[in-house]
Symmetry: C3
Subunit: 135 residues, 3 copies
Protein backbone atom coordinates (compact mmCIF):
# COMPACT_ATOMS: atom_id res chain seq x y z
CA UNK A 1 0.00 0.00 0.00
CA UNK A 2 1.16 3.48 -0.83
CA UNK A 3 1.85 5.30 2.41
CA UNK A 4 0.85 8.73 1.14
CA UNK A 5 -1.82 10.32 3.30
CA UNK A 6 -4.14 12.76 1.55
CA UNK A 7 -6.16 15.04 3.79
CA UNK A 8 -9.02 16.97 2.24
CA UNK A 9 -9.94 19.70 4.68
CA UNK A 10 -13.46 20.95 4.12
CA UNK A 11 -14.60 22.06 7.57
CA UNK A 12 -13.13 25.19 9.11
CA UNK A 13 -13.93 24.73 12.80
CA UNK A 14 -11.09 24.61 15.33
CA UNK A 15 -11.95 21.12 16.62
CA UNK A 16 -11.78 19.54 13.16
CA UNK A 17 -8.70 21.53 12.13
CA UNK A 18 -6.95 20.45 15.33
CA UNK A 19 -7.85 16.81 14.67
CA UNK A 20 -6.53 17.16 11.11
CA UNK A 21 -3.28 18.79 12.21
CA UNK A 22 -2.66 16.03 14.76
CA UNK A 23 -3.19 13.39 12.06
CA UNK A 24 -0.80 15.23 9.73
CA UNK A 25 1.96 15.47 12.32
CA UNK A 26 1.42 11.85 13.39
CA UNK A 27 1.72 10.65 9.79
CA UNK A 28 4.74 12.88 9.12
CA UNK A 29 6.44 11.49 12.23
CA UNK A 30 5.96 7.99 10.80
CA UNK A 31 7.69 9.09 7.60
CA UNK A 32 4.52 9.15 5.51
CA UNK A 33 4.19 11.84 2.81
CA UNK A 34 1.18 14.06 3.55
CA UNK A 35 -0.81 16.13 1.08
CA UNK A 36 -3.37 18.57 2.43
CA UNK A 37 -6.05 20.02 0.13
CA UNK A 38 -8.02 23.02 1.41
CA UNK A 39 -11.61 23.47 0.30
CA UNK A 40 -14.54 25.64 1.28
CA UNK A 41 -14.67 26.58 4.98
CA UNK A 42 -11.25 25.12 5.74
CA UNK A 43 -9.71 27.29 3.03
CA UNK A 44 -11.49 30.30 4.52
CA UNK A 45 -9.86 29.49 7.88
CA UNK A 46 -6.38 29.66 6.29
CA UNK A 47 -6.70 33.29 5.22
CA UNK A 48 -3.70 35.24 6.49
CA UNK A 49 -5.88 37.64 8.48
CA UNK A 50 -8.06 34.95 10.07
CA UNK A 51 -5.94 31.87 10.73
CA UNK A 52 -5.35 32.69 14.42
CA UNK A 53 -8.93 33.82 15.09
CA UNK A 54 -11.61 31.77 16.80
CA UNK A 55 -13.21 29.50 14.17
CA UNK A 56 -15.78 27.93 16.48
CA UNK A 57 -16.44 24.21 16.85
CA UNK A 58 -18.83 21.68 15.31
CA UNK A 59 -22.49 22.52 15.98
CA UNK A 60 -22.96 19.29 17.94
CA UNK A 61 -20.38 20.38 20.55
CA UNK A 62 -22.83 22.72 22.22
CA UNK A 63 -21.82 25.43 24.65
CA UNK A 64 -20.14 22.99 27.04
CA UNK A 65 -18.01 21.49 24.27
CA UNK A 66 -17.09 24.86 22.86
CA UNK A 67 -15.91 25.98 26.30
CA UNK A 68 -13.77 22.85 26.67
CA UNK A 69 -12.09 23.39 23.30
CA UNK A 70 -11.50 27.07 23.99
CA UNK A 71 -9.91 26.25 27.36
CA UNK A 72 -7.69 23.58 25.77
CA UNK A 73 -6.66 26.07 23.08
CA UNK A 74 -5.35 28.47 25.72
CA UNK A 75 -3.11 25.79 27.22
CA UNK A 76 -2.16 23.87 24.08
CA UNK A 77 -0.59 24.44 20.70
CA UNK A 78 -2.58 26.11 17.91
CA UNK A 79 -3.36 23.81 14.96
CA UNK A 80 -1.44 26.13 12.65
CA UNK A 81 1.69 25.54 14.75
CA UNK A 82 1.06 21.78 14.69
CA UNK A 83 0.90 21.91 10.89
CA UNK A 84 4.05 24.01 10.79
CA UNK A 85 5.75 21.37 12.95
CA UNK A 86 4.51 18.64 10.58
CA UNK A 87 6.18 20.50 7.71
CA UNK A 88 9.42 20.74 9.69
CA UNK A 89 9.66 17.02 10.40
CA UNK A 90 8.27 15.48 7.22
CA UNK A 91 7.20 15.79 3.62
CA UNK A 92 3.99 17.78 4.00
CA UNK A 93 2.41 19.88 1.25
CA UNK A 94 -0.55 22.20 1.78
CA UNK A 95 -2.52 23.09 -1.33
CA UNK A 96 -5.48 25.41 -1.83
CA UNK A 97 -8.27 24.09 -4.06
CA UNK A 98 -8.50 26.30 -7.16
CA UNK A 99 -12.31 26.03 -7.33
CA UNK A 100 -12.68 27.12 -3.72
CA UNK A 101 -10.28 30.04 -4.34
CA UNK A 102 -12.69 31.16 -7.08
CA UNK A 103 -15.65 30.75 -4.75
CA UNK A 104 -14.16 33.16 -2.21
CA UNK A 105 -12.62 35.35 -4.94
CA UNK A 106 -9.24 35.30 -3.22
CA UNK A 107 -5.67 34.87 -4.46
CA UNK A 108 -2.60 33.10 -3.05
CA UNK A 109 -1.40 36.26 -1.25
CA UNK A 110 -4.59 36.31 0.81
CA UNK A 111 -3.58 33.02 2.43
CA UNK A 112 -1.25 32.23 5.30
CA UNK A 113 2.29 31.29 4.18
CA UNK A 114 1.63 27.74 5.46
CA UNK A 115 -0.17 27.20 2.15
CA UNK A 116 2.33 26.17 -0.54
CA UNK A 117 0.31 26.71 -3.68
CA UNK A 118 -3.05 26.60 -5.46
CA UNK A 119 -3.90 23.47 -7.42
CA UNK A 120 -6.81 21.85 -9.21
CA UNK A 121 -8.58 18.72 -8.06
CA UNK A 122 -7.01 16.68 -10.90
CA UNK A 123 -3.48 17.54 -9.70
CA UNK A 124 -4.48 16.67 -6.15
CA UNK A 125 -6.05 13.36 -7.17
CA UNK A 126 -2.96 12.43 -9.18
CA UNK A 127 -0.95 12.43 -5.95
CA UNK A 128 -3.70 10.84 -3.83
CA UNK A 129 -2.36 7.32 -4.26
CA UNK A 130 -2.96 6.10 -0.68
CA UNK A 131 -5.55 6.77 1.99
CA UNK A 132 -7.78 9.81 1.45
CA UNK A 133 -9.35 11.41 4.49
CA UNK A 134 -12.12 14.02 4.21
CA UNK A 135 -12.47 16.17 7.31
Amino acid sequence: MDETLSLILFSGTDDKLTAAAVLAVGAAAMGRPVNVFLQYWALDAFRADRIRKDHGVAAEAGVEGATLVARAAEKGQHWADTLSQAKDIGEVGIHACALSMDLFEIVKDDLDPLVDDVEGVAAFMAEATGAIVFI
Copy 2:
Protein backbone atom coordinates in the same frame (compact mmCIF):
# COMPACT_ATOMS: atom_id res chain seq x y z
CA MET B 1 -2.48 0.21 -4.26
CA ASP B 2 -5.89 -0.41 -5.72
CA GLU B 3 -7.01 2.73 -7.51
CA THR B 4 -10.70 2.33 -6.76
CA LEU B 5 -12.16 5.36 -5.02
CA SER B 6 -15.12 4.69 -2.75
CA LEU B 7 -17.18 7.70 -1.75
CA ILE B 8 -19.67 7.30 1.07
CA LEU B 9 -22.00 10.28 0.89
CA PHE B 10 -23.72 10.89 4.20
CA SER B 11 -24.32 14.65 4.21
CA GLY B 12 -26.92 16.14 1.94
CA THR B 13 -25.91 19.79 1.83
CA ASP B 14 -25.01 21.38 -1.49
CA ASP B 15 -21.48 22.36 -0.46
CA LYS B 16 -20.52 18.79 0.50
CA LEU B 17 -22.31 17.24 -2.48
CA THR B 18 -20.48 19.65 -4.80
CA ALA B 19 -17.14 18.76 -3.19
CA ALA B 20 -17.97 15.06 -3.60
CA ALA B 21 -19.00 15.43 -7.24
CA VAL B 22 -15.77 17.28 -8.04
CA LEU B 23 -13.73 14.48 -6.44
CA ALA B 24 -15.69 11.89 -8.41
CA VAL B 25 -15.15 13.60 -11.75
CA GLY B 26 -11.48 14.25 -10.95
CA ALA B 27 -10.92 10.57 -10.11
CA ALA B 28 -12.89 9.42 -13.17
CA ALA B 29 -10.78 11.70 -15.37
CA MET B 30 -7.65 9.97 -14.00
CA GLY B 31 -9.11 6.61 -15.01
CA ARG B 32 -9.90 5.50 -11.47
CA PRO B 33 -13.06 3.43 -10.87
CA VAL B 34 -15.44 5.30 -8.54
CA ASN B 35 -18.13 3.80 -6.32
CA VAL B 36 -20.56 6.14 -4.62
CA PHE B 37 -22.70 4.91 -1.71
CA LEU B 38 -25.61 7.09 -0.63
CA GLN B 39 -26.65 7.10 3.02
CA TYR B 40 -28.92 9.17 5.22
CA TRP B 41 -29.21 12.86 4.25
CA ALA B 42 -27.27 12.40 1.02
CA LEU B 43 -29.70 9.71 -0.09
CA ASP B 44 -32.57 12.04 0.75
CA ALA B 45 -31.00 14.66 -1.54
CA PHE B 46 -31.04 12.23 -4.48
CA ARG B 47 -34.82 11.81 -4.48
CA ALA B 48 -36.17 12.46 -7.96
CA ASP B 49 -38.41 15.28 -6.77
CA ARG B 50 -35.73 17.03 -4.68
CA ILE B 51 -32.37 16.63 -6.38
CA ARG B 52 -32.44 20.08 -8.01
CA LYS B 53 -33.83 21.86 -4.96
CA ASP B 54 -31.81 23.94 -2.51
CA HIS B 55 -30.24 21.57 0.04
CA GLY B 56 -28.59 24.25 2.15
CA VAL B 57 -24.96 24.26 3.26
CA ALA B 58 -23.04 23.10 6.33
CA ALA B 59 -24.13 24.88 9.52
CA GLU B 60 -20.68 26.39 10.00
CA ALA B 61 -20.98 28.32 6.69
CA GLY B 62 -23.24 30.93 8.22
CA VAL B 63 -25.33 33.35 6.20
CA GLU B 64 -22.33 34.79 4.37
CA GLY B 65 -21.12 31.36 3.28
CA ALA B 66 -24.58 30.24 2.24
CA THR B 67 -24.92 33.33 0.07
CA LEU B 68 -21.56 32.65 -1.58
CA VAL B 69 -22.48 29.06 -2.41
CA ALA B 70 -25.91 30.08 -3.73
CA ARG B 71 -24.31 32.71 -5.98
CA ALA B 72 -21.74 30.19 -7.25
CA ALA B 73 -24.55 27.72 -7.95
CA GLU B 74 -26.26 30.20 -10.23
CA LYS B 75 -23.15 30.62 -12.35
CA GLY B 76 -21.75 27.10 -12.16
CA GLN B 77 -22.72 23.54 -12.88
CA HIS B 78 -25.06 21.69 -10.52
CA TRP B 79 -23.43 18.78 -8.65
CA ALA B 80 -25.91 16.37 -10.26
CA ASP B 81 -24.59 17.41 -13.68
CA THR B 82 -21.00 17.00 -12.48
CA LEU B 83 -21.82 13.45 -11.37
CA SER B 84 -23.54 12.77 -14.68
CA GLN B 85 -20.39 13.98 -16.44
CA ALA B 86 -18.28 11.68 -14.23
CA LYS B 87 -20.42 8.75 -15.37
CA ASP B 88 -19.93 9.77 -19.00
CA ILE B 89 -16.15 9.85 -18.84
CA GLY B 90 -15.39 6.99 -16.47
CA GLU B 91 -16.44 3.91 -14.59
CA VAL B 92 -18.68 5.46 -11.93
CA GLY B 93 -21.40 3.59 -10.03
CA ILE B 94 -23.91 5.26 -7.72
CA HIS B 95 -25.56 2.97 -5.18
CA ALA B 96 -28.24 3.65 -2.59
CA CYS B 97 -27.68 2.11 0.86
CA ALA B 98 -30.42 -0.46 1.53
CA LEU B 99 -30.61 0.41 5.24
CA SER B 100 -31.08 4.10 4.49
CA MET B 101 -33.77 3.26 1.91
CA ASP B 102 -35.63 1.48 4.72
CA LEU B 103 -35.14 4.46 7.02
CA PHE B 104 -36.86 6.80 4.57
CA GLU B 105 -39.32 4.11 3.45
CA ILE B 106 -38.58 4.79 -0.20
CA VAL B 107 -37.99 2.55 -3.23
CA LYS B 108 -35.65 2.79 -6.23
CA ASP B 109 -38.27 4.60 -8.33
CA ASP B 110 -38.33 7.46 -5.82
CA LEU B 111 -34.71 8.24 -6.69
CA ASP B 112 -33.16 10.22 -9.51
CA PRO B 113 -32.06 8.04 -12.46
CA LEU B 114 -28.42 8.93 -11.61
CA VAL B 115 -28.69 6.21 -8.96
CA ASP B 116 -27.89 2.83 -10.48
CA ASP B 117 -29.19 0.46 -7.83
CA VAL B 118 -29.79 -0.31 -4.17
CA GLU B 119 -27.18 -2.36 -2.37
CA GLY B 120 -26.24 -3.48 1.13
CA VAL B 121 -23.16 -2.34 2.99
CA ALA B 122 -21.51 -5.77 2.56
CA ALA B 123 -21.74 -5.50 -1.24
CA PHE B 124 -20.37 -1.97 -1.07
CA MET B 125 -17.49 -2.96 1.21
CA ALA B 126 -16.61 -5.87 -1.08
CA GLU B 127 -15.79 -3.36 -3.82
CA ALA B 128 -14.15 -0.83 -1.49
CA THR B 129 -10.64 -2.11 -2.11
CA GLY B 130 -8.89 1.27 -2.25
CA ALA B 131 -9.36 4.64 -0.57
CA ILE B 132 -12.67 5.18 1.21
CA VAL B 133 -13.87 8.75 1.68
CA PHE B 134 -16.77 9.61 3.98
CA ILE B 135 -18.35 12.97 3.20
Copy 3:
Protein backbone atom coordinates in the same frame (compact mmCIF):
# COMPACT_ATOMS: atom_id res chain seq x y z
CA MET C 1 -3.74 -3.12 -0.88
CA ASP C 2 -3.77 -3.65 2.86
CA GLU C 3 -7.30 -4.55 3.88
CA THR C 4 -7.16 -2.89 7.28
CA LEU C 5 -9.98 -0.38 7.75
CA SER C 6 -9.25 2.50 10.10
CA LEU C 7 -12.24 4.46 11.33
CA ILE C 8 -11.63 7.76 13.05
CA LEU C 9 -14.83 8.67 14.85
CA PHE C 10 -15.03 12.38 15.55
CA SER C 11 -18.77 13.09 15.52
CA GLY C 12 -20.93 11.86 18.36
CA THR C 13 -24.41 12.00 16.85
CA ASP C 14 -26.47 8.83 16.60
CA ASP C 15 -26.84 8.97 12.81
CA LYS C 16 -23.06 9.10 12.21
CA LEU C 17 -22.29 6.55 14.91
CA THR C 18 -24.84 4.19 13.39
CA ALA C 19 -23.31 4.64 9.93
CA ALA C 20 -19.87 3.97 11.41
CA ALA C 21 -20.99 0.85 13.26
CA VAL C 22 -22.58 -0.55 10.11
CA LEU C 23 -19.33 0.01 8.18
CA ALA C 24 -17.37 -1.70 10.96
CA VAL C 25 -19.58 -4.76 11.02
CA GLY C 26 -19.66 -4.93 7.23
CA ALA C 27 -15.86 -4.83 7.05
CA ALA C 28 -15.48 -7.35 9.90
CA ALA C 29 -17.87 -9.69 8.09
CA MET C 30 -15.58 -9.51 5.04
CA GLY C 31 -12.64 -10.53 7.21
CA ARG C 32 -11.02 -7.10 7.23
CA PRO C 33 -9.24 -5.97 10.41
CA VAL C 34 -10.92 -2.82 11.78
CA ASN C 35 -9.36 -0.18 14.01
CA VAL C 36 -11.61 2.46 15.53
CA PHE C 37 -10.12 5.62 17.01
CA LEU C 38 -12.40 7.78 19.19
CA GLN C 39 -11.87 11.52 19.24
CA TYR C 40 -13.74 14.55 20.53
CA TRP C 41 -17.55 14.23 20.47
CA ALA C 42 -17.49 10.55 19.51
CA LEU C 43 -15.32 9.80 22.53
CA ASP C 44 -17.78 11.71 24.68
CA ALA C 45 -20.58 9.48 23.37
CA PHE C 46 -18.72 6.35 24.55
CA ARG C 47 -18.75 7.34 28.22
CA ALA C 48 -20.16 4.49 30.29
CA ASP C 49 -22.98 6.64 31.67
CA ARG C 50 -24.00 8.14 28.31
CA ILE C 51 -23.52 5.55 25.60
CA ARG C 52 -27.20 4.51 25.55
CA LYS C 53 -28.55 8.05 25.81
CA ASP C 54 -29.91 10.10 22.93
CA HIS C 55 -26.97 11.76 21.15
CA GLY C 56 -29.02 13.68 18.60
CA VAL C 57 -28.42 13.73 14.86
CA ALA C 58 -26.51 15.95 12.42
CA ALA C 59 -27.79 19.54 12.39
CA GLU C 60 -28.80 19.24 8.74
CA ALA C 61 -31.32 16.47 9.57
CA GLY C 62 -33.85 18.93 10.92
CA VAL C 63 -36.82 17.94 13.05
CA GLU C 64 -38.21 15.57 10.42
CA GLY C 65 -34.91 13.72 10.09
CA ALA C 66 -34.41 13.52 13.84
CA THR C 67 -37.86 11.99 14.22
CA LEU C 68 -37.11 9.39 11.55
CA VAL C 69 -33.84 8.36 13.21
CA ALA C 70 -35.46 8.19 16.65
CA ARG C 71 -38.27 6.00 15.30
CA ALA C 72 -35.76 3.69 13.56
CA ALA C 73 -33.75 3.46 16.80
CA GLU C 74 -36.79 2.12 18.64
CA LYS C 75 -37.23 -0.69 16.14
CA GLY C 76 -33.61 -1.41 15.30
CA GLN C 77 -30.35 -2.32 16.97
CA HIS C 78 -28.38 0.31 18.90
CA TRP C 79 -25.03 1.21 17.32
CA ALA C 80 -23.24 0.03 20.47
CA ASP C 81 -24.73 -3.44 19.93
CA THR C 82 -23.69 -3.36 16.26
CA LEU C 83 -20.12 -2.58 17.33
CA SER C 84 -20.25 -5.35 19.91
CA GLN C 85 -21.38 -7.71 17.15
CA ALA C 86 -18.51 -6.53 14.94
CA LYS C 87 -16.09 -7.43 17.75
CA ASP C 88 -17.69 -10.88 18.05
CA ILE C 89 -17.31 -11.76 14.39
CA GLY C 90 -14.00 -10.13 13.50
CA GLU C 91 -10.77 -8.47 14.50
CA VAL C 92 -12.05 -5.11 15.72
CA GLY C 93 -10.19 -2.82 18.12
CA ILE C 94 -11.69 0.32 19.66
CA HIS C 95 -9.18 2.86 20.94
CA ALA C 96 -9.69 6.16 22.74
CA CYS C 97 -7.50 9.05 21.56
CA ALA C 98 -5.19 10.08 24.41
CA LEU C 99 -5.39 13.78 23.51
CA SER C 100 -9.19 13.73 23.56
CA MET C 101 -9.13 11.89 26.93
CA ASP C 102 -7.10 14.84 28.26
CA LEU C 103 -9.54 17.30 26.74
CA PHE C 104 -12.45 15.79 28.65
CA GLU C 105 -10.30 15.03 31.70
CA ILE C 106 -11.54 11.44 31.82
CA VAL C 107 -9.83 8.08 32.38
CA LYS C 108 -10.33 4.62 30.88
CA ASP C 109 -12.79 3.62 33.64
CA ASP C 110 -15.14 6.42 32.60
CA LEU C 111 -15.64 4.71 29.23
CA ASP C 112 -17.91 1.87 28.17
CA PRO C 113 -16.17 -1.54 28.20
CA LEU C 114 -16.48 -1.61 24.38
CA VAL C 115 -13.37 0.60 24.38
CA ASP C 116 -10.24 -1.56 24.54
CA ASP C 117 -7.62 0.99 25.49
CA VAL C 118 -6.28 4.52 25.25
CA GLU C 119 -3.64 5.21 22.62
CA GLY C 120 -1.82 8.11 21.00
CA VAL C 121 -2.24 9.20 17.41
CA ALA C 122 1.22 7.81 16.50
CA ALA C 123 0.23 4.30 17.65
CA PHE C 124 -3.04 4.60 15.74
CA MET C 125 -1.31 5.83 12.57
CA ALA C 126 1.21 2.98 12.77
CA GLU C 127 -1.65 0.52 12.28
CA ALA C 128 -3.52 2.65 9.72
CA THR C 129 -2.00 0.91 6.72
CA GLY C 130 -5.14 0.75 4.57
CA ALA C 131 -8.16 2.98 4.05
CA ILE C 132 -8.73 5.67 6.67
CA VAL C 133 -12.28 6.95 7.13
CA PHE C 134 -13.04 10.06 9.18
CA ILE C 135 -16.64 10.24 10.36
